[in-house]
């Protein structure tokens, strides 16, 4: 199929757009009817992880700064929400106020991380960001004494659900005479936020800043020589990426109603990084695909029990034993066969393959005036 042709045809683009919108709009009801509400909740988490992955994509994918402590910003957003809207301090500020505040706070933490690490490159940066993530988690885990701020490992419970004017999204609502649980309402909120994040990512990508990030990624010295203020541009990448994480964190806290430090461990950072890299670094559709796959796959693999029964007539190996094993294998296999990610951007694909198809594609693009 020739994507660029499709893209250039506006009519088809509009139709595809509307179709996609429709699918997204009814998705929770389809999934809920076909697979149960458990999968609607998974869908909610998929959207949450899309936001997180896109945030990390700014740092890793656009600016090429390897960040292994991204979950720290998620934690900052989540704890800010939890502290300002729970009985813990007796504060109950509204969500529309806390969410942007969380983004701001996380962004500031991003700058805090960025400042001392400006000179560091590649893997040195990776270990420092990893350390930063751990530091934040350890503080959250331990700040229950001498002054109780985060309630330590016990976590903060009974967090207010996201809502406005007395109505909360967690309550089930009635629609066409059907009782619809709160997870559906959250789906639309998360969808709106995710679309916003996608939109910002898209606009950033094509902006002056976005091109500056790519320039730094490809060659920092050259970028500096071209007059890019690498320090500010790098800090901006950290801050932007972090603020997406902060928003997601706030949404997570309101959605779950409970936060504790165990949600923000290193494995979580690594999984988000896997989403970005596996999907296709720097390419928004790829990153979204990565987030979807890595959130859905572990859940889908819960069905290997029934599958084994189907094929062998009984459960041969305990499915719980196999689930993560298959997940790990999938990571290896995908990367070996698609080293640039499942759905890399055209530029990257060109870098890592010399297939005739791609070459032909390039030729074509060369003469395509509308490009």
């Amino acid at each position: 199929m020739n994507w660029s042709k499709l893209k250039s045809d506006r009519r088809i683009a509009y139709v595809a757009f509307i179709a996609l919108g429709l699918v997204l709009a009814v998705a929770p009801f389809l999934v809920g009817a076909g697979l149960g509400n458990g999968w609607v909740r998974i869908l909610d988490f998929v959207l949450l992880y899309i936001m997180l992955a896109l945030g990390l994509n700014i740092v890793v994918g656009y600016a090429g700064l390897l960040d292994l402590g991204y979950v720290a910003f998620y934690a900052v957003g989540a704890y800010l929400y939890a502290l300002l809207a729970s009985p813990h301090f007796g504060l109950h500020l509204p969500a529309w106020f806390i969410l942007p505040l969380g983004a701001l706070a996380a962004g500031m933490f991003g700058m805090m991380l960025g400042t001392p690490t400006l000179r560091l490159r590649g893997d040195y940066l990776a270990i420092v960001t990893l350390g930063f993530g751990e530091i934040i988690r350890i503080f959250l885990n331990n700040l229950n004494s001498p002054v109780n701020i985060t309630n330590g490992p016990q976590g903060i419970s009974m967090i207010d659900p996201i809502g406005a004017g007395g109505a909360s999204l967690s309550q089930s609502f009635e629609l066409f005479g059907m009782q619809v649980p709160g997870i559906y309402a959250y789906y639309y909120l998360f969808l709106a936020m995710a679309l916003l994040v996608v939109f910002i990512s898209l606009r950033l990508q094509d902006s002056r800043i976005g091109r500056a990030w790519v320039a730094i990624r490809e060659d920092e010295v050259a970028a500096e020589a071209m007059g890019i203020n690498t320090r500010n541009i790098k800090l901006l990448a950290f801050a932007m990426g972090a603020s997406f994480g902060g928003i997601s964190g706030g949404l997570f806290a309101g959605f779950q109603g409970f936060v504790s430090p165990e949600s923000f461990n290193l494995m979580e950072s690594i999984m988000i990084l896997c989403m970005v890299v596996l999907g296709g670094m720097g390419h928004i559709p790829g990153v979204i695909l990565g987030a979807i796959l890595l959130t859905v796959l572990p859940e889908a693999l819960r069905y290997i029990g029934p599958l084994e029964e189907f094929f062998f007539g009984r459960v041969v190996v305990d499915p719980a034993d196999l689930r993560m094993l298959i997940f790990g294998l999938a990571l290896i296999v995908v990367m070996i066969f698609r080293p640039a990610g499942l759905w890399p951007s055209k530029v990257r694909r060109r870098e890592f393959s010399s297939e005739a198809e791609v070459l032909a594609h390039e030729q074509e693009a060369l003469y395509d005036a509308s490009k």
């Binding site: 490992p153 419970s157 165990e262």
Partner: protein, 389 residues
Amino acid sequence: MKSRLLAVLLATMLFNLAACGKKDTAPGADGAVVVKIGSIQPLTGPQSHLGKDNENGTRMAIDDANAKGISIGGKKVRFELFSEDDQADPKTATIVAQKMVDEKVNGIIGHLNSGTTIPASKIYFDAGIVQISPSATNPKYTEQGFRTAFRVMPNDVQQGKALGDFAVTRLGAKRVAIIDDRTAYGQGLADQFGAAAKAAGAEIVTRQYTTDKSTDFMAILTAVKSENADVLFFGGMDAQGGPMMKQFKTLGLNAKFLMGDGGSTPEFIKLAAGSAEGAYSSLPGLPLDKMPGGKAFGDKFTAKYGQIQLYAPYCYDAVSVMIAAMQKADSIDPAKYLPVLASIVYDGVTAKISFDTKGDIKDGAITLYQVKNGKWEVLETVGGAEPAK
């Protein structure tokens, strides 16, 4: 690419439908009504050995109930186990909880950790499904005002108080050192222990910390040594407690070593590798062989699944008390048997079980043990602290 995605989605959908279909047709075979019991524990990750143990305890209770051939509401019923892995992760826990609600389970045994139990409890409450946690000890769990939330394990406040009193009155503690593993369980218990020991007149000379993944405790133990403590309390699990005890002896400390239920396992003795002698621990409830049916349970479990790790008996009790409530209410509908469960008095294998208004186990007795000749020996049973507040 999109079509591929759709295919994946469709495929999983089909599997699910196929799986559901099978489950629905199965009970027709022997004409019994199926009662679904959900068990959610971490089955992968560092705590999976405890999770599997819980699952086994739950499974055995269900098998035993089925062997008895119970009838509820005039119909023969068959109990079926639905087991899922929550990876000890709060996010996964809520997803799995939602699935259990979809599955329309009649009751939930779980989760293992407080961090997963609390966020999931809201989902069960919203769906009106009874949840009994075998091992979550965070007081918050039952303080949320969810009438569906129960536990058969005394909470941190209850157990910490019993341990603190024991340390001061029986072990004669004057200078107490406390270490905790910075988990919800370890920190909660250690805090309550400290408060109780202080109230009973002991001095807390040092508070040290480790993590639930550590193996090296030499540094913090050296710090403890410098304070000349006479009792060292560790709030944490056997996997850290055993090696800690060993290193404690290596460093030549001569304080008394005390742990909560997390240390009260044969594993502790094995991991301490010959250094466990003299250690103290507590376990909620009465010793297994003091309870009617307790010894039989222990023997049967060991024969079937190997050594009891820790909480399997509590899971067994959680299922049994749930089934007893169903029988008494003559209904498998959570809404119907919930009020019965709330007021039930039931002889379990770990204790006489009844719940207070919040859903905590009432007047939970706590038994203290000491390692003698390489085995945990019962020291005494203290009559249970007053439930919190």
